[in-house]
Symmetry: C2
Subunit: 305 residues, 2 copies
């Protein structure tokens, strides 16, 4: 294993950032960023080898990029813009400079998509790889889970369930497919998320669509009714049905309604639906999330417990 | 194991904070904090079971408090004031509500010492307990490692090496002592650290005094010369010598110069020495840290690698 200072030197190179607002970056006790007139938004996510990823299945690049995406999604889901990341990692014994560089390049490749910079972190050893990322950014008007209003349209930035379908393929011996790639590293539509600014409530789908909608329903004290016909016409649904084959009923709705880690953005709005988003239901009086037409709802979201 | 929502409910109770600047706290995708006119300072630290702590030796309360202390120390070491914490944890299978509450209470007890609030986090499962904390705060004039000037006095907020002496006692079958307690959960002098505001450079001693001073020397392009006679008269030195017994030369200086995790604050200053701090040397021309009178310097700081 490389020494800590060798690893930090390699990381400083990968993460080199030129940002006039960054007063102190990597290499001191903490990072310092110029005061902003906007509110601060911050979120954190952890990924543990064997729980969130398998190194047999995913490259270090994908592992780094995927956790970064989850973290950036949280900031967008608050109506914010991510600016800076802190990365902590517990590295297993096989980590040398090439491994840390690959992981770091994965993190940076995703952060680059939104112009966020990695400004600090912490390294230690660990039996199995564990990574924790904290993103922070700016937000003018936070969008919470509590703002849904009866009469809102429920919208989504894309079809959920692709990552779950990819995991299913991996578990069934398929080596590569667009869904497997989506499982290893989802493609987030950050631009569309940034256009969700006039919505009343918002989440990213980390743990499954129903699970997130239940959070919105509970925090907003409303009910939500999804429309299966609207969901079926979202691009990609037919392909999921093909993968599921004869198991269509159980599997496709399991993926779409309860599959996690796609990080599509789901929101409720009383304004115009942003171009590129899909209506999938409505906010109603009540306290339940219902999907008329689906006989048996998946009972649980995707959880790392 | 308890469900994620049960754990989050328990955590929300322990971490309940009433802060008019906290716009969105625990329970949404991210936390939102009102804009501040001061610069933002942020730092992160990770602790891994078996690497940073042993649950046979330390209570969950101590484990939580110790990592929090390390994190808060980083913010003070930048000249900042910590305000908010995000906590990620990978929990082993034995974690139920009582365990998460004990860990959370440890984190909160330390954060309360400085008036910082826990505003969010992430939970997952893990084979072994792993915790990552990110602290945020405010800083007007950051104090980096790069500001030491030839002629500065090197000062320290207290004796380093107590945690290392405690670890030595633990490893030698002693069950309890003030040093063992300092190893399990160091007592940081946050008030004194806050009075280091006119210093030219500053670190907290995470990895050992020599290691931190080498960082300052290297970043500031200076040399540092420590004075063993000044160190010997810091309260507590004689007690360390008693613990070391006949091994005094190797052990005491190993603990004081290379023992980590005390999180005492070391700085260089051209102003008046803050009341309660101790002078231990001076900044000189050059690029090395020297300790005249110590025949063989410990070559390495305390590292979790």
């Amino acid at each position: 294993m490389a020494t800590e200072s060798e690893l930090i030197a390699a990381l400083s190179k990968v993460f080199a950032a030129s940002d006039p607002k960054l007063i102190v970056g990597i290499g001191d006790d903490g990072a310092v960023i110029s005061a902003s007139p906007k509110n601060l938004v911050a979120a954190t996510d952890m990924a543990v080898e064997g729980v969130h990823f398998k190194r047999d299945w995913s490259s270090l690049h994908d592992i780094g990029a995927k956790l970064t995406a989850a973290n950036l999604a949280d900031i967008y889901a608050m109506g914010g813009t991510p600016k800076y990341l802190l990365v902590s990692a517990g590295l297993s014994k096989d980590f040398g400079i090439p491994e840390i560089e690959e992981l770091a390049n994965g993190i940076k490749s995703e952060a680059d998509l939104v112009g966020a910079a990695i400004v600090g972190g912490d390294l230690s050893s660990a039996e199995k790889l564990v990574i924790s990322i904290t993103a922070f950014g700016e937000v003018e008007k936070p969008i919470t889970r509590a703002g849904a209003k009866v009469g809102d349209v429920v919208i989504i930035s894309g079809l959920s369930g692709k990552s779950a379908a990819g995991l299913y393929q991996l578990q069934n011996g398929i080596a590569d497919s667009p869904y497997i790639r989506a499982h290893k590293k989802p493609d987030l539509n950050y631009k569309l998320a940034a256009n969700f600014q006039s919505v009343n409530s918002m989440c990213d789908v980390s743990d499954g669509l129903l699970s997130e909608l239940n959070h919105i329903a509970s925090a907003s004290k409303v009910g939500i009714e999804l429309d299966v016909e609207l969901i079926k016409v979202i691009p990609g649904f037919d392909e999921l049905a093909q993968i599921a084959g004869s198991n269509i009923l159980q599997l496709v709705w399991q993926w779409v309604l309860a599959g996690g880690e796609d990080h599509v953005f789901v929101a409720t709005t009383s304004s115009q639906i942003p171009v590129g988003a899909y209506a999938i239901g409505k906010v109603v009086a009540g306290d339940k999330v219902t999907v008329p037409g689906i006989a048996e709802l998946p009972t649980n979201g995707f959880r790392h417990f």
